[in-house]
Symmetry: C2
Subunit: 414 residues, 2 copies
């Protein structure tokens, strides 16, 4: 087999995670090893936007030690983007522009690191350039703390966020129970449609140091039921911890802030979530008269590299490296996925998942992993999640603080 | 010298820290070694409240391994309290009750672990029992993330919170700069009157990954000036991170939520929604039209044992143990303090600080460590703080999550 010869580009897209840079490092470091087939490796500034704007960096100019440090640097060092390509049947101008840039820089390997939307982007780009007769390998590298990608056992980024959330919940539990006066604590966790991350608070509960109640978006939300649940436990114990996903909504589709407050929409018409903890805390204070504290894990949960899962960092890197190896072997239009071969001891293998299978699906927490009342998570989830967070990643330190990568970002020329 | 013979009690008071249990462990483990002079060591449930209510635990009943685990378990495992004793000249009923309990249980060593208020409590209790002719050693063990106790170079609990805040700020920086659309991020840090913790965000800035602006309670706050500062930097850079202490207030004593409350077209539709970060974020969004995110470190900053400073844990323990050794040597009415003997290499020695010197003072960040404009922190602070966070404490793990202590809490009988 003749190996396709040409340059490679990697783009990062969507919300950051603690390990998205590890995946980019996997692509970059692996691709740089194959200079006989891939003369140049580019990093796109702000994902697809950087390609459209012809702003990308020559990764061979970077110090290899800094590329190593990308593995333990959270968020997207190349810059991320939320730009959405149009449907090519309606408006193909972006696609034509991409093709132009691909040709100009002889880009034959396209790696895109992101969630569902990014896999959809990959798939559309691939189809367009193929129809135009341009030979290019397109591989998706999975990324999302939400853990909602189809075709893979779990997603890089999820385990680190879960480890942070479970650990922080245990610590908050110690704090929230410290006074002899009652307290209700509301924890707000990210997750618009899938409750994988909020469910991670059950790992703390299983150690006797977690929430009493957990509400996921997989179950229709009822504010009155939550108030009733909280009141009952508050009466029994005097202390209640409630974990709630930012994405829970009622049968008619309203989010918590809409139920007792107001919600704003962004430029794309997406409702701006977040703030549920405080809104709910205010509501519960009024309903119960108790002292209530709302805590939002906010950005911290998706960028806490200091307590990232070791296997998550390694797998994120390998997903990137494997994408390169598979593309060199002639594969295209796949996302790298992970299949769990064994739970104890934990073992996975890397698989190829067709991009089209990922693009239009959202994997949710199975309903049978949630209790009948819809206010707690069952042991199936614990068995699934615990192996993913077993060890902590080691982050190189400098005077007691993390040493993150410093990229030179030398702009590439054709 | 004859060593006073009798039982010991330790109480924990005020807001939790990552290492307050380490101090309690220091007292308990050290006191248990001296059974020839201290037959029993009691742990008061919820500080002074537990003594008044005669609810305390016989610490010799605990598994020594669990007492070891107290060192790395955040918050107050014995329970804390915010109960304030009356002025004995006005109402001495609590003091008479305490004396009664001390006599009943032959308590001759009283250790109290807390901040300014706790040292005041110690001082008053000591005077009352002495006036009543009851021989008892009273020693304060310092604790506060606020770092505002007089007579000591720094306070156990501060360094761990500072390390958490600096690290998290660096991580948030990676995340907050990831899109090519501008963003303003507001970080809210604890500290009502002293800005030691908020100032720790400058450690992140010194690594090129921190706030552009830092506002401490030591400087009179001016909302208009902050808005102007933010607008200027936003124009220059497109991304701004602002760190603000929850305690900043204007010349006439108003806190941030009160300020925007009076401007009052209520950006969020609720009054008292969130803390300073959210209120300020809403205000800045209105003033700049930028995307603004408010992040409150909340309880996480005071209970994040998973990233506690190693020296903080050790010093907290030693402060407790030293209090016992000094009390056995006949000292009373002191708080254990720390004196920095050398900065490089970092070295401290333990000293005795008269309780009365601590009780009525609050140590603030020196004005000359803050820039003239009052919106940033100078290198003197970095030199002071960096040695305190040099290493990370090792927290024993169980399946990837912290293994916190589990106390039996066997109630003591007279």
């Amino acid at each position: 087999m003749t190996v396709l010869r040409g340059n490679a580009i990697i783009g990062q897209s969507g919300g950051p995670t603690a390990v998205i840079n590890a995946s980019a490092a996997g692509v970059i470091i692996e691709a740089l090893k194959h200079s006989e087939h891939i003369p140049k490796v580019f990093g796109a500034a702000h994902g697809i936007r950087g390609i459209l704007d012809e702003v990308f960096y020559d990764m061979s100019e970077e110090d290899p030690r800094e590329l190593e440090l990308m593995k333990t640097t959270p968020s997207s060092s190349l810059g991320s983007v939320r730009y959405k390509l149009a449907d090519p049947d309606e408006d193909d101008s972006d696609y034509r522009r991409l093709l132009e840039v691909f040709r100009k820089y002889d880009i034959r390997y396209f790696f895109y690191n992101g969630g569902n939307d990014s896999m959809d982007t990959c798939s559309k780009v691939s189809k367009f350039v193929r129809d135009a007769g341009y030979d290019m390998r397109v591989m998706g590298v999975p990324k999302t703390i939400d853990n909602d990608l189809a075709g893979t056992d779990h997603c890089p980024g999820f385990a680190s966020a879960a480890k942070y959330i479970a650990t922080s919940t245990m610590e908050i539990f110690q704090d929230a129970n410290v006074y002899n006066t009652g307290q209700i604590t509301v924890l707000e966790v990210m997750g618009r449609n899938a409750g994988w991350l909020t469910a991670a608070t059950v790992l703390a509960a299983a150690r006797g140091a977690g929430p009493d109640l957990i509400y996921l978006p997989e179950v229709e939300f009822c504010l009155e039921q939550l108030v009733e649940d909280v009141k009952r436990i508050y009466q029994e114990k005097g202390n209640v911890i409630v974990a709630v996903s930012e994405g829970v909504r009622t049968a008619d589709g309203r989010y918590i802030p809409e139920l007792v407050g107001t919600v704003s929409t962004d430029a794309f018409g997406h409702k701006q979530l977040g703030g549920a903890a405080q809104v709910l805390a205010d509501h519960l204070a009024k309903e119960t008269g108790a002292k209530v504290r709302g805590i939002e894990f906010s950005l911290l949960q998706r960028c806490a590299a200091h307590i990232a899962s070791k296997s998550d960092v390694e797998e994120a890197y390998e997903c990137g490296a494997e994408a390169v190896r598979q593309a060199l072997a002639g594969q295209t239009d796949y996302m790298i996925g992970m299949k769990r071969v064994s739970n104890v001891p934990y073992e996975i293998e890397y698989i190829l998942v067709p991009l089209v299978d990922v693009a239009n699906h959202e994997k949710k927490v199975p309903r049978e992993w949630i209790n009948a009342e819809g206010n707690f998570v069952k042991s199936e989830y614990i068995d699934y999640c615990l192996p993913l967070i077993a060890e902590t990643s080691d982050v190189p330190q400098e005077d007691g603080l993390p040493r993150f990568c410093r990229l030179k970002k030398v702009q590439a020329r054709p």
